[in-house]
Amino acid sequence: MSLLDWLFDGLLGLTMLWLGIRVVSGAELLNTIMSFIGLGILMALAWMRLGAPDVALAEAALGGGVTGALLLAAFNRLKDAPSVQTEQDDKD
């Protein structure tokens, strides 16, 4: 494990921890979602370092992309919630 590898892995790990802390302790909800998406992308990078390309691809697409999109969509719906009228679903 050369020094450069160590430097890269160490930095990547610490940044992931920092993002994890920001997700949990962030004041503004939108920032926490953004930190989580960042964490998802860095996680994909970490898994590339650990020699698992297909799982890294899945994490970037599913963990970062799709989950991030779902979170942002939910965040928007929560923001302007009262205006959206909910009628009970009809019988099928």
Partner: protein, 228 residues
């Protein structure tokens, strides 16, 4: 927070202390794990020729432990059912008219993404790729379409849409059942057809995963179609 609810503050403090203790024990147990462990990689290498594909992870997901993947696709379907039977679909109100550039980009990007989805699906048989990654990319294209050109996307709840949503686990279960009827064990692919059966299941799963995740992004059940 201390002033408002001292009891809750103490409870949280205690909880955090237990979490720190738990973290130390977990770290210690990870530390004591043997540094070299081949796990099942030797057996997988040995059985790869009979699996019908060259990529190891795809072989495990769709042949050696295909039963897990079947149940997991059902989990995805159950999540969609839960979201559907909670309420009608409310497409996000189009407050901002998408600019010409954005719409132009999406018109160009979505076909490319669908092409790449097909490529990643095909790649899965011999390199890093497969049904889940391709499905997630398809969902990305779907989300783009829903957000930018929502009104042009005719999503109608009907037998056709539901057939697509059930295609992945449905084909998987039918293949499993069919193999059982033909005298083999459940999900035991015949040696020579293994590759093509896996590709068939992966294609159906990609379609289902893509559409299911897009509808989960939309967050509700599309309106009843005129056809149904």
């Amino acid at each position: 927070m201390i002033k408002t609810d001292p009891l809750r503050f103490i409870a949280i403090l205690l909880a955090l202390l237990t979490i720190v203790a738990f973290g130390h024990m977990l770290a210690w147990s990870l530390w004591t794990l043997p540094p070299e462990a081949a796990g099942l990689s030797l057996i997988v290498n040995e059985k790869m020729p009979e699996s019908g594909v060259d990529a190891q992870v795809t072989a495990i997901l769709l042949n050696f432990r295909s039963y897990d993947t079947l149940l997991e696709l059902v989990v995805l379907l159950v999540a969609l059912l839960g979201a559907w039977y909670l309420g009608k679909l409310h497409l996000p109100p189009q407050d901002s008219k998408p600019g010409l550039v954005l719409e132009g980009l999406v018109r160009f990007l979505v076909p490319v993404m669908i092409l790449v989805t097909g490529y990643i699906l095909w790649l899965g048989s011999h390199a890093a790729g497969g049904a889940f990654q391709a499905g997630a990319l398809l969902a990305g294209a779907g989300v783009l379409m829903l957000v930018v050109i929502a009104e042009k996307v005719a999503v109608r709840d009907g037998v056709r849409l539901r057939a697509l949503l059930v295609a992945g686990p449905g084909v998987f279960a039918l293949v499993a059942g069919g193999l059982m009827l033909s005298g083999k064990l459940m999900l035991q692919y015949p040696q020579q057809h293994a590759g093509s059966l896996i590709l068939l299941i992966e294609a159906a799963s990609t379609l289902t995963i893509g559409i299911t995740l897009t509808l989960l992004f939309a967050g509700g059940r599309p309106h009843r179609g005129k056809t149904d």
